[in-house]
């Protein structure tokens, strides 16, 4: 950078030393002017910096202004407890419980997908991978974060939904294998170890191997039967909770990975070295020392991921099926649901604000719920992040 230029008048001052006998000390008057000048400058800066504060205030003001009439007109109880969502009939009903549940289900699904993956990936990035290969993983994360949500939605609707409908069962059973096999193997090692811990030294090894084998066989059989059950499932509609959960999970990954990786890196080398010095393996160090130490930062990351999934519009609008009903039973992931964001985007159509119908206000009531939830989550995540910063110091 050629950034060492200093303004013209200053250069003159410096290059021509004080020959003219000018008083170097400023007069009081001048100093006073200078102070006033800097104060006004600073306050102008402060005002411009407060734009985000103003924006937030206005957002709250406008959303709540149009949300309150809804509660005045329709009451609060029905909105949160009834599932009858018939906004367009002559005597409309605005029971949004199913929509809230839909949002919650989709978000929960996204969390189940993204949190374990995200934290594992963050651990991998911060401690396991060598520095050179880390250079190649970072762009992948950035790319995942950069891809616009409408592209994810397009993929979910045009590619993933038909695939699920055709080969849904097969895909599910393969997924179970991929997810559960490593877990089962780890479990068999641990259990084998625990069961053989009371034996004498000579028998120990043999026993451990045998126990581990037995448990492994049992768990593999369990996985097999589970995947068999899954492959028999007929997916009636490809636009459902499962589809959206996977896609939203992938969308929330980058955020979770980068924030928790920061938290893990902030723990510092000395903790790690101390743990290794006491003879812990890397896995033990990470799970028993580093993750607990970075707890708050990881919490903050998870909350941010939840908010990302909850606030997403296009993907759920395109690929969740938009049925305002609670799936039967509630954990049936192959049913369509409807979320708050998709309702706002899709229903803005009929809402006429001039007549002040509840149909218009109800969307703002939903936006208000989203906004308040986002705000509270943000506060909580900030709190945790602060805690994490305090701990790392």
């Amino acid at each position: 950078m050629n950034g060492y230029k200093v303004g013209k008048n200053y250069r003159e001052k410096i290059s021509s030393p004080n020959i003219s006998g000018k008083n170097l000390l400023m007069s009081d008057e001048k100093r006073w002017f200078r102070r006033i000048g800097s104060l006004t400058g600073k306050s102008i800066l402060a005002v411009i910096a407060s734009v985000s504060l103003l924006a937030l205030f206005f957002i709250f003001f406008f959303i709540i202004r149009d949300a309150l009439p809804f509660f005045r007109l329709e009451g609060v109880k029905n909105f949160f407890t009834s599932t009858a969502w018939y906004p367009s009939r002559e005597n409309p009903e605005f029971g949004a419980l199913a929509i809230f549940v839909g949002s919650a289900l989709v978000t929960l699904g996204a969390v189940v997908v993204s949190v374990p993956l995200g934290i594992l990936a963050a651990l991998c990035l911060s401690d396991i991978l060598p520095f050179t290969s880390r250079q190649y993983v970072k762009p992948v994360i950035e790319m995942l974060a950069a891809i616009p949500s409408v592209v994810y939605g397009f993929f979910a609707l045009i590619v993933f939904a038909p695939y699920l409908q055709e080969k849904g069962g097969a895909a599910l059973s393969m997924g179970t294998w991929i997810v559960l096999t490593p877990l089962a193997l780890v479990l068999s090692v641990i259990l084998g170890d625990i069961l053989s811990s009371r034996a004498g030294k000579a028998e120990k090894k043999l026993r451990r191997v045998i126990f581990a084998m037995i448990i492994a066989v049992i768990s593999i059989w369990g996985i097999y039967s589970l995947s068999d059950f899954f492959s028999g499932i007929k997916v009636v509609s490809g636009t459902n909770v499962f589809n959206v959960s996977i896609i939203l999970g992938i969308m929330a990954l980058p955020l979770i990975v980068s924030v928790s990786e920061d938290a893990l890196s902030a723990v510092g080398r000395d903790m790690r070295e101390g743990s290794y010095a006491l003879g812990a393996t890397r896995a033990e160090t990470l799970l028993k020392v580093i993750v607990p130490a970075a707890r708050s930062g990881i919490f903050a990351a998870i909350i941010l991921g939840v908010m990302r999934a909850l606030g997403e519009t296009m993907v759920v609008w395109m690929a969740s099926g938009n049925a305002a009903s609670i799936p039967e039973p509630w954990f049936n992931l192959m049913e369509p649901v409807r979320t708050l964001t998709a309702t706002i985007a899709g229903d803005m159509g009929e809402a006429d604000q001039v007549t002040g119908s509840s149909r218009y206000y109800v969307l703002f009531a939903m936006a208000m719920c989203l906004l308040i939830f986002a705000f509270i989550s943000n506060m909580v995540s900030e709190h945790f992040a602060k805690k994490a910063r305090g701990m790392s110091k």
């Binding site: 950034g3 099926g321 938009n322 009929e350």
Partner: protein
């Protein structure tokens, strides 16, 4: 750096000055922009008309949004558009609100549309009565078996509640009964068709212009929905499609020329080719 900042801030000042200085109005007789907003059913007609009109008149910019009939009405009475395309007539509330706002909505019936019930071509069901359709959407029939089909759960696809198609369906078929909660709602005619053509167990309803070879239209009350049966008024689920303007457009304006396109031979050809029925062919024999 300082120079850049100066240039940048001057640009900013200029743009903001411009934006505050020009408060143009779509109603100030400046006819270089026609904004159309509203129904997804009328969307194809509006889009084709807009492109046809713009190719003949280079000085006009016509924009078309397809966000739902209700949105069209809303935009019209907020003076946010010049033409609201709607697949239903304005509601009393909308109309009186418009009048209160100093807008006098004028309806132009541009075409007639039938709502076809569509199923996947692999579905053996060929014919239903209006009553049966109602019972399906009420949730009384949940399985195709009850209607003489195979043992498969029915997947109901419905248009979103903000669409004119939905309201017409509610009026002509549902008879004010509630649609069962677990129906899937999608945002457009195209999306309904897409869901049905990819879901063997599905049933949905779309405007006639959206029926193609990938789905099977059902015969309703013994009448198959095609241009002939709808034009003659025998098909039970048919409705006019509207464009609303604020007052009747003045002669000689682009708006007037555009809104009367549907009466020209070319306009009628376009309507027919998209798959709707020009009003001139419709016989009101009810």
């Amino acid at each position: 750096m300082i120079r850049w900042i100066r240039i940048f801030s001057s640009i900013l000042l200029l743009t903001s000055a411009l934006s505050l200085g020009t408060s143009d109005s779509a109603y100030a007789g400046k006819a270089d922009k026609i904004v159309i907003d509203g129904s997804t059913t009328v969307g194809p007609i509006a889009k084709a008309f807009a492109e046809y009109y713009m190719s003949n008149n280079k000085d006009v910019n016509i924009t078309v949004s397809e966000s739902g009939s209700g949105n069209g009405a809303k935009s019209l009475l907020n003076k946010m558009c010049n033409i609201a395309t709607m697949s239903r007539f304005m509601k009393d509330g909308e109309f009186s609100a418009a009048v209160k706002n100093g807008i006098m909505p004028v309806a132009h019936v541009v075409a007639v549309d039938g709502i076809a019930m569509i199923v996947h071509p692999s579905n053996p069901i060929k014919e239903l009565s209006v009553e049966k359709v109602r019972e399906i959407y009420k949730g009384k029939y949940t399985n195709w078996k009850q209607l003489g089909g195979p043992d498969v759960k029915i997947v109901m696809i419905s248009r979103d509640t903000n669409s004119g198609t939905y309201e017409t369906f509610e009026k002509l078929v549902m008879n004010k009964e509630r649609i069962e909660e677990n129906a899937e709602y999608v945002g457009s005619n195209g999306a309904v068709r897409q869901r049905v053509q990819s879901t063997p167990a599905a049933i949905g309803y779309v405007g006639l212009g959206f029926v193609d070879r990938t789905v099977k239209a059902l015969t309703i009350e013994g009448v198959y929905p095609d241009s002939r049966s709808i034009a003659s008024g025998v098909y039970p689920i048919a409705r006019p499609l509207y464009m609303f303007t604020d007052r009747y457009p003045r002669l000689g304006t682009h708006l007037h020329a555009f809104i009367t396109l549907y009466l020209t031979p070319r306009g009628q050809e376009i309507i027919e080719e998209i798959g709707f029925i020009p009003v001139t062919q419709y016989k009101y024999n009810k």
